[in-house]
């Protein structure tokens, strides 16, 4: 019970780039600036997946980044939530059927929320994180 409240009050984020063009990555950094301040939800960007509760995946999964994605997903402690940020992460976008694309992230790992847009607006990522925090509140 105490753990459930604690997780929903302070979900730490880990940002994972799987071949993104850096557009969505810049918007995630803008999310932590003072205008769309996501730290009021208790979120914090951490550098290690072993400290994180939520994983933000950006970019179509390239052949090189498939193994790191699976390894980092295994490193996340339970309960874990994956949020796909941007069009590329949802369905590979304009890179679909490319020679080095092994498919969008939901083919490889279970995904909770999809945040649309190219690139995703900080307001939109904010709403996606709120959906992810609802999962911790329900204790799934």
């Amino acid at each position: 019970m105490i753990f459930k409240i604690g997780r929903s009050k302070s979900p730490w984020l880990f940002h994972l780039n799987t071949g993104s063009c850096n557009g969505c990555d810049i918007e995630i950094i803008a999310l932590f600036a003072s205008r769309y301040d996501v730290e009021r939800l208790g979120c914090k960007l951490v550098g290690s997946p072993k400290h994180a509760d939520i994983c933000l995946v950006t970019g179509p999964v390239t052949a090189r980044s498939k193994e790191p994605l699976l390894r980092i997903y295994d490193m996340l402690p339970n309960p874990k939530v994956v949020v796909c940020v941007g069009t590329c992460s949802i369905s590979s976008g304009v890179f679909t059927d490319g020679y080095s694309i092994v498919g969008p992230a939901h083919k490889l790992i279970p995904v909770t929320a999809y945040v649309g847009g190219c690139s995703a607006h900080p307001k939109n990522i904010f709403l996606g994180l709120q959906k992810a925090i609802e999962v911790f509140k329900e204790g799934r």
Binding site: S34, R35, Y36, D37, R40, T87, I90, S91, S92, G93, V94, T96, H106, T112, A113, Y114, V115, G116, G117, C118, A120, H121, K123, N124, F126, L127, G128, Q130, K131
Partner: protein, 157 residues
């Protein structure tokens, strides 16, 4: 040093810059934003120009019996606005805000049915060109005969 002190004193009286965002109360977005495209089936004539110009293969138009099925995979859309620029009847418009969050991939699919009319001579199904005629010849004028016939009947004398 003095300008810095002035800025500090000004900031004491300013309201906070942070925007209030919650799922129930979404803030207004400034105009002219390239949001996701919204399709209006009542204005669409299923000409396929948007399908030709779409760089991400979002739009797929196919004929099913007496109707045209207009399918959009919005999960691949990059909101570039090509379909909106080239649409001859302004059937597609940008959404004014960027909000689009889903927990299920089926929320990104859009399916619309567009009705077709029959050719005046042979009865084959052709797109309704009334809106194009209004654009060319002005509102309220009668649609010319060659726009109500299929290509085969047009070539016959």
């Amino acid at each position: 040093m003095l300008p810095l002190i002035r800025i500090l004193i000004e900031n004491i009286f300013k309201p906070p810059i942070t925007e209030e965002i919650s799922a129930a109360n979404l803030p207004e977005h400034p105009g002219g934003f390239h949001g996701y495209p919204e399709h209006d089936p009542s204005r669409c004539i299923a000409c396929g120009i948007c399908q030709y110009f779409c760089p991400a293969k979002v739009i797929k138009i196919s004929q099913i019996d007496d109707k045209m099925n207009y399918h959009m995979d919005l999960d691949q859309c990059t909101c570039c606005g090509q379909c909106i620029d080239y649409c001859p009847t302004n059937a597609i418009k940008h959404r004014p805000n960027p909000y689009f969050v889903a927990t299920n991939l089926d929320d990104f699919k859009v399916d619309h049915q567009i009705k077709l009319i029959k050719c005046a001579k042979c009865g084959a199904f052709i797109p309704d060109m009334t809106l194009i005629a209004h654009k060319l010849f002005g509102e309220g004028k009668p649609v010319p005969k060659h726009l109500t016939m299929c290509p085969k009947c047009k070539r016959k004398p």
